[in-house]
Amino acid sequence: MDLLEYQVKEWFANIGIPVLPSQRIDHPTDLKRLKIDYPIVLKSQVNAAERAKVGGVRFVETTIDAIAAARSIFNLPILGQLPEVLLAETKYETEQEFYLAVVLDTAVCRPILLGCTEAMDIDWDSADEKMHYVVVEQEFSPFYARQLALKMGLQGALMQSVSNVVEKMYQLFVEKDLDLVEINPLGVSPSGQVMALNGNVSINERAIGRHPNMADIAKAMVNPYTSSHTIRNLGDWDVVEMHGKIAILGNGAGLVMATLDLVVNSGGKPGVCLNLRHASVTETSPTTFKSRLEQALKNLATDKSIQVILINFLGSISQGTEVSEVIGDFVESSMTEAQLFMAKSNGGKNRRENSFPRLVVRLAGSEFDTARIDIAALKTPTDTSITVVENLDEGVAEAIRLAKSTVYRRF
């Protein structure tokens, strides 16, 4: 989860990383009450590295220009996002610009410090030659930051001020459980003063629960990886959004992906794929497997593009016996809805149309022995039975067959 620039700079200022005087602008008229001196730079608060290129960053010297520029930035969508806030910041004279970052390296299982004496438009293809790094092998101590600054080729006072900034970045990284802290660029003035001109902070979603203030920030932010509002909270690998007719529910990320592959490789088109094994990491209230399954079925029922729901559960599930119960309840409530619909439309249409998707349920493991029997016996609103299988390939084939069949179409 990425913070916006103005939030990043608040955090930087609090931990002691030098930032320019700035002011948050919620509305162009806020510029009339500007507390910082002109010339200023106005920046669109969206998460996109490209914002400067597309006009989201403007230098202005007077209030009149500032208000006009602010109006236009507020109306300029960047990667589809309109900013809710702008940041007004003092202009800064730089002689050099550096890149600094602290990031968690999942291969060495350690945080690494990164630094480069070029910034902004780093040519990432050749970055491995210019980018320097230090692995924080043992507990952090400021000497790791000095190691980085020296590797970057810095000396004397500049070496020390840059390593001081890296030290503060690391402190922020640990204190707030981050995945990434980045300063890009770190401006160096002709007198050797350093200043974080722009920065990125990415919060680790797993740790949000133990930082009460962050949970509030998280709630306010839309997950940028998914667009659907109903399921965006399932986070990370727990949701894969595609645009076919076959929704996939599984208990395990690998299993969901394997199922998705099978559907594609057999000529089918997967739609939303959900992993129900665990609660989402950003979920604040505790959930059970049962409640996640209920929620998922409910959401999928409202999505008219889904024709078939392929459920693939295997192995031990704490509430294994409840699977048939949830599916039973789901079918029943759909029946009621269907009857209501029929009543409303006064039986006007003869075609057996309704909002109920077809279900293919693959259950493997002795825990599901009774569930398999119970589910197979359920009666659906479309009078079709639910397909229950033990073999995965078979379940996939059946789901594809049903998705291609045009006999029962949802509308």
Partner: protein, 293 residues
């Protein structure tokens, strides 16, 4: 490594990640489960296990503990594991998913200094069919045999065991290192163990998108593994929608390889290492049989 049925095993924490069924299965599979630790529940019985408040109380009563299986709330994993380390437990299996990565970094620094094996987090553990079960792998899908399974998935691992068993191919050992971004033991460590394990004749390696563990494994297989290896990668058809840079590796940050972490990259690595890759789980038994010929 001590994976004999005599080794003493402890469970720390009784959360949603472990059920009575899991405990019963472990016992049924020969695991010498001596006790549970659940702070505040000392003196009680849970799933027919005597429960203590502290690990040191268990050690005092039963002597050295070889393995602990940690199932506490993700935010308490670090504490539970440090407590186990203080009591000189040398094998720690973490079932709980969602451990904050920086907690894992702290734990791994300590565990490396104490030469302690950490499996997980977010791992169903280890099974040696018919001998020992350390974790939550469902033993019903396994039979004793000579195929070693190595993965970082949960249910997908069982799916593959099930396919092998159905095809008459038993398993020597199955390990999932866990699907979190930061995990203790690596594919490399386990490839080496399976390579040296006498009961193992073939190795099945199961991967999925994210990170570059599969790529590293492929390189290691080409260099150092003598036994035949068959791979399977899930998610080859899934769109890659993740910003790898932020939870990736140095390679991802510096190189910014657009394919980093993708299934495509992993398939290429195995192909380069001349490791046969199954297209679907049900194809694995066939490739294993071919490899053994």
């Amino acid at each position: 490594m001590n994976l004999t049925p005599y080794s003493k095993v402890l469970i720390q924490g009784f959360s949603e990640y472990i059920t009575a069924n899991h405990v019963a299965q472990m016992k049924a599979n020969g695991t010498n489960l001596v006790a549970g630790v659940n702070p505040g529940s000392g003196g009680q019985q849970m799933y027919s296990l005597p429960v203590f408040d502290l690990v040191e109380e268990v050690v005092e009563k039963f002597g050295v503990i070889d393995t602990t299986i940690i199932c506490v709330h993700p935010y308490q994993v670090l504490d539970a594991a440090l407590e186990a380390l203080e009591s000189d437990i040398r094998q720690i299996i973490i079932i709980s998913p969602g451990v904050p990565p920086l907690d894992m970094v702290q734990l791994l620094r300590k565990a490396e200094a104490k030469e302690t094996l950490i499996v997980g987090p977010n791992s169903p553990g280890i099974i040696i069919p018919g001998k020992i079960l350390l974790g939550t792998q469902p033993s019903e899908f396994y039979t004793a045999g000579s195929v070693g399974i190595l993965s970082r998935s949960t249910t997908l691992t069982y799916e593959i065991a099930r396919e092998l068993t159905d095809a008459g191919l038993g398993q020597s050992m199955s390990v999932s290192i866990g699907s979190d971004a930061i995990v203790g033991s690596s594919f490399l460590q386990w490839l080496q163990i399976l390579d040296e394990d006498e009961a193992t004749k073939t190795i099945v390696l199961v991967g999925q998108p994210g990170g570059d563990r599969e790529e590293a494994a492929a390189r290691y297989i080409a260099e150092a593994i003598d036994k035949p290896v068959v791979a399977y990668i899930a998610g080859t058809q899934a769109p890659s929608a993740r910003h790898w840079r932020q939870t990736g590796t140095l390679a991802a940050v510096i190189g910014r390889d657009p394919d980093f972490g993708t299934a495509k990259n992993k398939l290429a690595a195995f192909s380069f290492a001349r490791v046969p890759v199954a297209e679907r789980p049900s194809q694995i038994p066939e490739l294993v049989k071919k490899a053994l010929r």
